[in-house]
Symmetry: C3
Subunit: 431 residues, 3 copies
């Protein structure tokens, strides 16, 4: 059995199942087994669920799977909840206390097949509880005190660089506030967490979490997140639904900040993405625009390089970005819809191992400039009252050269002519 699901199957699954399930999801009640729920005052210190709890069979030749909730203790991780999906092939660790971020994806301890660790070695070692994070600190960079996830969402009211932006206050005046790096959503504990399993084969496992970014005289946004995988496969999906419960239009920003270190990242590792255009985020990145797709080894004193990618999508509207190792025999692809997430940021931070050797592949509703700048470029969407948006991403592993080549050629077919590589960063309109 191939652990690498053919792209065509992915696409069907991608457009099919999740939408069905999302349709059942409402704020009043998530289906499945509830692990945490503030509305019913429920919280579980520890819980382990398996097929028997959902009355679903284990398919033949499939490893046993489980979903385990545990609570972390000690240091800055005191009280952090984590949920581990062990699909038999993949082990996916989710952090409800940190906005349903994904800490890491690795090979299941029960798997006899090869796998790839998706994570990076951040200088932040613990799973930091939001009580120990002050987003306002260090000139709005406090978010970096907890940053070590493989995938952390940036948003919802704002994402991107810290800095001043205007907002309308209680008396109707336009006043200034300090936006903080990448917003709040990654440091808000989930109000409701539940596990569901599809009633029919292939019995997809879904962990859902509701994260509220709400305040009086501010956003009333609800994010219903879902991370799901089919036991026995090496792919998994993220399907999020963002809702505006306010009476007015609400600006929002969303970036899926997905981060990779070793083993995939390394000297001559490469990112493959079909793009109309690639722009450097600043003059420093501009210097290396020609090699934007290739990686350096860990380099002491390396200053981050950020590239703004305008991705191309296939006839189904799906864009893909592949990160492959230097040997080309291991890779991971993220697939997403450009109608949902039209921009793609490539963050290269190939600093010394000790400082965080990492690259970010980041589909988003915009780029990570401060919201004030993003707004000028028309990249800050609004959500009408009671309106919602869906964001769907699928990650899949490629475990041998053939699989890597296959997805690379699929991406390359979209790149009929080379992307425009901007020699200089676009000039930012003055305030």
């Amino acid at each position: 059995m191939s652990k690498c699901i053919p792209a065509v199957v992915l696409a069907i699954g991608f457009l099919g199942c999740p939408a069905l399930v999302i349709a059942q999801v409402t704020t009043s009640g998530l289906p499945g087994i509830v692990i945490t729920d503030s509305s019913s005052n429920k919280r579980t210190e520890h819980l382990r669920l398996g097929p028997q709890d959902f009355s679903v069979p284990i398919l033949q030749n499939q490893p046993a799977w489980s979903v385990e909730k545990s609570t972390l203790h000690g240091g800055k991780q005191e009280g952090c909840e984590i949920i581990t999906i062990d699909s038999g092939t993949l082990s996916i660790v989710i952090v409800p206390t940190r906005g349903m971020s994904v800490l890491r994806v690795s090979k299941s301890p029960n798997s006899r097949e090869p796998g790839i660790e998706l994570s990076w070695n951040s200088p932040v070692k613990e799973v930091v509880h939001p009580q120990f994070v002050n987003l306002e600190s260090r000139g709005g960079l406090g978010w970096l005190e907890g940053f070590n996830e493989w995938m952390v969402r940036c948003g919802l009211e704002s994402a991107g660089h810290p800095g001043k932006d205007e907002f309308i206050n209680n008396v109707g005046d336009k006043v200034e506030m300090d936006l903080t790096l990448h917003g709040k959503i990654g440091n808000i504990p989930a109000s409701k967490v539940s596990v569901t399993v599809d009633r029919e084969a292939p019995y997809r496992i879904r962990v859902q979490g509701v994260v509220n970014e709400r305040m009086f005289y501010g956003p009333k946004l609800e994010l219903i997140t879902e991370i799901s995988t089919v036991p026995g496969t090496t792919a998994f999906q993220i399907t999020d639904k963002l809702m505006n419960h306010g009476a007015d239009d609400q600006e929002f920003q969303m970036i899926y900040h997905t981060n990779f270190g070793k083993p995939l990242l390394g000297k001559n590792a490469k990112v493959v993405v079909a793009a109309e255009k690639v722009e450097p985020m600043n003059a420093h990145a501009a210097k290396s625009i020609d090699s934007f797709a290739a990686y350096e080894p860990p380099t002491k004193g390396f200053i981050e390089q950020v590239y703004l990618v305008y991705p191309k999508s296939d006839s189904n509207g799906n864009a893909r970005a592949l990160l492959k190792n230097a040997a080309g025999d291991q890779g991971v692809t993220v697939m997403w819809k450009t109608s949902q997430l039209p921009y793609f940021t490539l963050w290269k931070n190939t600093a010394a191992e000790a400082d965080g050797y990492v690259t970010g592949l980041e589909p988003g509703t915009g780029f990570p400039f401060n919201r004030k700048i993003e707004r000028k470029f028309g990249r800050v969407p609004k959500l009408g009252p009671n309106m919602s948006r869906i964001f769907e991403l699928e990650y899949s592993l490629h475990l041998d050269k053939e699989a890597v080549n296959k997805v690379e050629s699929m991406i390359s077919q979209l790149q009929d002519q080379p992307p425009i590589l901007a020699a200089e960063p676009i000039s930012i309109p003055k305030p």
Copy 2:
């Protein structure tokens, strides 16, 4: 038995009992059954108390009463303590973790009489633990991330609008600090919480909490709060004692921010208060000064209107403000002493339901301008070393037309001539 206590009885109870009990209250020990106490390292996850725990009888024809402590879990309410007084007629929910705020008052589930829900539908749904509130955020408006209580105290070192004000720092210099909206007291967990029941009929139930707003080189204020009610009645009292434990005079501010949504608030609901004068807080409120006492239906995009009321008191020194519904058959009155709380702010925020359709009736030591402005108007009192102040408020429900009319006419008698309605906001002295 009438659930609406005649005003004359209220007045006696009001001036009588609470003062007696307060006299027994010292920092060294609260009487009664202790639920939480940091000095003896006591905290209870869950506790339910009833008449038997205090060796008091249940009066004939009286419903059973209870006081229940529980702990909230999930999302941003993780670890929040709440205490519910079920008097048999009223259910009063207190939040020790949020400065002894009152989350909501509703009809007891055991009551067969009619009742009125005192609360509002804030876009903030959970009882937010202070660990998730950064008062400094959003330009000092972080308080709004937890704002959903029926009654929240604003203070103690400062209340009102955020903004810069001066203070004396450790080296004796006058320096600037950013005051945050409505101060800290609503986000400080109570150090001591206890329940007492009067030993004599009518066996008043009292929940007391000690909240400390203390720091080195800063205020050393202690607030001993008490919420009390007599089983079988539809009135309840707040009796707070504020003490300055510092060696110097200490400025303070206190606003009882009491908030009402449906069912009382609605189109043509009305507030009745006897006033010398009513001033609009700003030019926007000035436009509607003539209809300051009447409410609009939920209105999308409504900008708050704030009116500064200089209340008149009766011969006992008590002022009253009545909020009655459009039909005039339901109402609630807050009664307080103008010697203790000489000002009354009326906050009208009849925005869309989704954004928080709410009005605030707010007796206070001042108005909610930034402290720097309040000081110019002479509305920032000081407390000498070891000195204290008492604040007493009584809330009572009016459950039919007759009861509403009675209290309305009592208030109207004080209004022998119409209040001065200022056409324009008072000009604020320049810094």
Copy 3:
């Protein structure tokens, strides 16, 4: 048996044992019995250890000793961990949740000998959990909301006064941040806490804690703290190891902010320290430079006086500062290495009891000016990648006149000529 260890023995112990043990300490594993460990998800609500748990004998004529871990509840101390070493002579209370600060040192309840309480009466009464401290508040003075320890470390990335300083951000730009008073280390919970006992006589008890001050694009500092004492003695040691896990040089600052109130502090109490020079920190302190070594009684409205001391050390490199009471029959000495901590700040805050009557004896890597100023004076050291520094301090009690005189004369011998007393504060170089 003398409870006052002769200085010569101290010196040997000081230079001997601790270094040996520190050599065994690595980030990968502390020896001994682990109480808290985030890497293995371990945390204990309550634990009591004694000689039997370490298979060491109790020496003849020695009192029983214990190390007890407990968890505090109620108010702002909810969830705070404390560890009490009861050596039979001393009771040392450590707060892992607050960066391994020492809350207080007092006479063991099991001791029949005299003792001295080392603590002060802060207006902050509870052991404040960092979740309730916002270091950024009050213009960067939020640290003062939790300040009541006998000994709190200030650092690590910065210590001293709040104010703006430059740092290099993610894109390599020099930008400004607001430093907060005395840095973060005193409000970071320890990631690992363990207890060890030496296998050989005199069976020194050591409580070790690892506190990480780490962030992405920021410091990657680890502090391994150790507090130790020999049962039956009235001295104890602090031996800390600071490590830089980043790939670049890292600035750091460290001040051992050790605070004394009554009974030692009082009118005519005196500090004795051998100094090359003493400078007033500001013009206010300059006025009283001639009496810098003597204390006033509690004085309402007293403004802090801070003196910058350039200490002299003995032939072993040890400096000593003695605080003795007015009668000269009780005292405490701190001994440290000027090679490790070349500066000594004397903080005099003899304010009213209610406001905090306290003095600070503070060996440090610098003085408590804002880092920007300290850097100009060359007092902000750097730690290279994978480099470490050791800080060793020994505190000892002097319980009668003879013992006080002995240490005083030892210190005085170093002061062959009087220290230079600067009449005016040194002028601070302009930015």
